[in-house]
C-alpha cells in the first residue's frame, strides 16, 4: 500500500516532506522522485551518505597498487637499465600509480553508481513506470490495515 503525493514545485515539496517527517512518518518509508537535485532532502530525511564512496576508495587503492605493481613487475621481469637510472625508479612509477589511481577510482565509482542505483533499468527502459516530468512526487509506504 502506498500513498502518492504530487507537488508542482520545489518549495511545496520541501515543505510537505518536512511535514511528513515531523508528523512521525519514518524516513525509510518515504520515497521521492524529483527532476533536479534538492539538497534539503538529505537533511530532512537525515540519511548518511550512500555507499558509492566505498567503491571509490577500493577502486582508487587498487589503482595505486596496480600502478606500482605493473611498473615494478615489468621492470624486474626484463631488467634493462636505461638512462643510468635505477631499475625501480620511484618518481616515474609514482606518476603511473597516480594516473591509475584516478582511472580506477573514477571507473569504480561509475560502476558503483550503476550497481547501487540499479541502472540501467533493463525491463523498464522503453516503458518507464512514471514519467515524472517536472513534478515532485512523494510516495509514502503505509502499513496494511
Amino acid at each position: 500500500m502506498a500513498r502518492e503525493i504530487i507537488l508542482e514545485n520545489r518549495e511545496a515539496f520541501v515543505r510537505k516532506l518536512r511535514e511528513l517527517v515531523d508528523g512521525g512518518v519514518p524516513a525509510e518509508k518515504i520515497h521521492a522522485q524529483f527532476p533536479y537535485p534538492v539538497h534539503e532532502v538529505e537533511e530532512i530525511l537525515g540519511r548518511r551518505p550512500g555507499p558509492v564512496r566505498y567503491f571509490t576508495l577500493i577502486g582508487a587503492v587498487t589503482g595505486f597498487v596496480a600502478g606500482f605493481g605493473l611498473t615494478i613487475y615489468t621492470v624486474l621481469s626484463w631488467p634493462m637499465i636505461t638512462g643510468g637510472k635505477p631499475l625501480v625508479s620511484i618518481p616515474p612509477f609514482l606518476l603511473i600509480a597516480y594516473i591509475l589511481t584516478i582511472l580506477f577510482g573514477s571507473l569504480a565509482s561509475f560502476a558503483g553508481f550503476f550497481f547501487l542505483s540499479i541502472l540501467p533499468k533493463i525491463g523498464r527502459l522503453f516503458t518507464p513506470l512514471t514519467e515524472q516530468a517536472n513534478r515532485f512526487i512523494i510516495t509514502v509506504e503505509e502499513e496494511k490495515r
Binding site: 524529483f34 533536479y36 537535485p37 558509492v52 621492470v75 638512462g83
Partner: protein, 438 residues
C-alpha cells in the same frame, strides 16, 4: 538573469537547439567535413609514401604534429577546469558553459590523440606503446615521458567521457519525453531508465562529486606530463623546471579562449541569451585574463633565468627565439597571449561579446604559435652549430593540421544537434533560486 524561468520553458528553450537543422548548419558541416576528409587523404598519402613527405627531418624532428598534439591537449584542459574545478568551487556561472566545455574536452582529446599516431609514421605499430605481455618479451619503458603520455591522455579521455556522460543522464531523461520515433528509443537507452528517484539522486550526487574530485588533479597533471616530454630532455629552452606550471596555465588560457570561440556563436544562433548572460562571459573573461598574466609571467621568467644562469647555450636559445628565424612568430605570440588580453582589465571590453570573440581567436592563434615556437626553436638551434637547421611545414603537414580542426568542428556541430547543449537539470536547479550543487 531572470531567477525563475518555468522548468518547461527551460526544456523547450534548450531542446529547440536540437530541432531540424537549417541550411547554414548543413553548409558548415559540409565545409568542416570536407576539410577533415582532405586531412585524412593527406594522412593516407603520408602512410603510403612514408614520413618523408612531412617537413620534419634532422635536426627538427618534432614539427607541427607535436605542436597540434600539445595545442589540442591544452584546449581540452579548460573544459575540465570549467566542469570539475568550478563545480567544486560552487561557481554558478559554470552551468552556462559546462556542457559545451565538456564536449569540447572530449573532442579536443580525440583530435589530440590522433597526432602522436600520425607523427609515428608507422602508425600501425602504435600498440608497442601499450604494456602487455608479448612475443617480443619486452615491456614498455616506464621511465620514458612518452609512456607517461600514453597513460595520462588515455586516462584523461576516459575520465572526461565518463564525466560528460554522467552529467547528461538526467538530461537524457528529459530529452526522451520530447523525442519521437527512433530518436526516442535512442535517448531512452542513453537515459538508462532514469526516473529521478531519491536513491538514484543520492548516488548520482555522490558520483558527480567524486568524478569532479578525480578530474581536478588531472587538470594539473596531464599538461604537466605533456610538458615533461620536453623538460625531461636536455635541450636548451626545454630543460627547465618552470615548464609544468607554465604549460598548465597556457593550456587553460587556450582552452578558455576556445570555449569563448565556441559559445559566442552557439548563444547567438540558438538564442540562449537568457541562460548564458553577459555576466557569465565576464566571469570567463576574468579566467582568461588571469591565465594570460601567468603565461606572461612565464614568458618573462624564462629568458630571465637564462640570463641569470650564465649558460651560453640557454642565452643563445632565447636570443634566437626572439630574434632568429622564427622571431616574427615569437612576437605575434607575445602580442596575442600577453598584450592583447590586457584589454580585459577594462570592464566594458570584458562585457563586449564581439570583442571577446575576436580576442579569443587571437589567443587561439597565439597559443598554437607558442607551442610551435617552443618546439621548433629549441630543436633548430641546440648545442652544436654544425647540427643547426630550420624547419618549414610541408603541404601534407598543413593539410593534416587543418584536418584536425575539421574533425574537431565537425564533431562539435554534430554534438549541437544530438545532445542538449546546456545542462537542463542544472539550469532548472539554478533558476529555482537556490542553486546549491551538492
Amino acid at each position: 538573469m531572470n531567477p525563475s524561468i518555468p522548468p518547461e520553458q527551460i526544456e523547450q528553450d534548450v531542446l529547440a537547439a536540437m530541432k531540424k537543422p537549417g541550411l547554414l548548419y548543413w553548409l558548415a558541416l559540409l565545409f568542416c567535413g570536407t576539410v577533415f576528409i582532405a586531412g585524412m587523404v593527406c594522412w593516407g598519402y603520408q602512410l603510403k609514401t612514408g614520413l618523408g613527405v612531412a617537413g620534419i627531418s634532422h635536426p627538427v624532428a618534432w614539427g607541427i604534429y607535436i605542436t597540434n598534439f600539445v595545442f589540442w591537449v591544452g584546449i581540452a584542459h579548460s573544459g575540465t577546469l570549467i566542469s570539475a574545478v568550478l563545480f567544486l568551487l560552487r561557481a554558478r556561472f559554470r552551468t552556462s558553459f559546462n556542457r559545451a566545455a565538456e564536449a569540447m574536452t572530449v573532442f579536443a582529446l580525440m583530435v589530440a590523440g590522433l597526432f602522436p599516431l600520425i607523427h609515428l609514421g608507422r602508425t600501425w605499430v602504435f600498440y608497442y606503446l601499450i604494456p602487455y605481455p608479448n612475443q617480443r618479451q619486452i615491456w614498455v619503458n616506464f621511465r620514458s615521458p612518452l609512456i607517461w603520455d600514453v597513460f595520462a591522455i588515455s586516462t584523461y579521455l576516459t575520465v572526461s567521457l565518463v564525466f560528460f556522460y554522467v552529467g547528461m543522464i538526467p538530461d537524457f531523461a528529459v530529452v526522451r519525453r520530447y523525442a519521437k520515433g527512433i530518436r526516442k528509443k535512442i535517448y531512452q537507452v542513453l537515459s538508462l531508465g532514469w526516473e529521478g528517484r531519491l536513491g538514484e539522486w543520492r548516488n548520482y550526487n555522490q558520483l558527480y562529486l567524486f568524478l569532479a574530485a578525480f578530474a581536478t588533479p588531472l587538470v594539473a597533471s596531464v599538461h604537466s606530463i605533456v610538458s615533461w616530454d620536453f623538460a625531461m630532455s636536455i635541450l636548451p629552452g626545454w630543460h627547465t623546471t618552470i615548464f609544468a606550471p607554465y604549460f598548465v596555465a597556457g593550456a587553460i588560457l587556450s582552452g578558455t579562449a576556445m570555449v569563448i570561440t565556441l559559445v559566442v556563436p552557439l548563444r547567438k544562433t540558438l538564442s540562449l541569451q537568457r541562460y548564458i548572460t553577459d555576466d557569465h562571459f565576464e566571469a570567463i573573461a576574468k579566467i582568461l585574463l588571469f591565465t594570460s598574466l601567468i603565461v606572461s609571467y612565464a614568458y618573462i621568467v624564462e629568458p630571465a633565468l637564462a640570463a641569470y644562469g650564465k649558460n651560453p647555450f640557454e642565452i643563445e636559445e632565447f636570443r634566437y627565439r626572439a630574434f632568429g628565424d622564427y622571431g616574427t612568430l615569437f612576437w605575434i605570440m607575445i602580442f596575442c597571449n600577453s598584450i592583447l588580453p590586457l584589454a580585459l582589465f577594462v570592464k566594458r571590453l570584458r562585457r563586449n561579446i564581439h570583442f571577446l570573440f575576436v580576442l579569443s581567436l587571437f589567443v587561439n592563434i597565439g597559443m598554437w604559435l607558442e607551442r610551435f615556437v617552443i618546439i621548433v626553436t629549441s630543436l633548430a638551434r641546440d648545442y652544436n652549430p654544425y647540427a643547426w637547421g630550420t624547419y618549414h611545414p610541408s603541404i601534407i603537414e598543413i593539410g593534416i593540421t587543418l584536418g584536425g580542426f575539421g574533425l574537431f568542428f565537425s564533431a562539435y556541430l554534430v554534438f549541437l544537434k544530438t545532445l542538449p547543449v546546456l545542462s537542463i537539470t542544472e539550469i532548472k536547479e539554478r533558476s529555482d533560486g537556490t542553486g546549491n550543487h551538492s
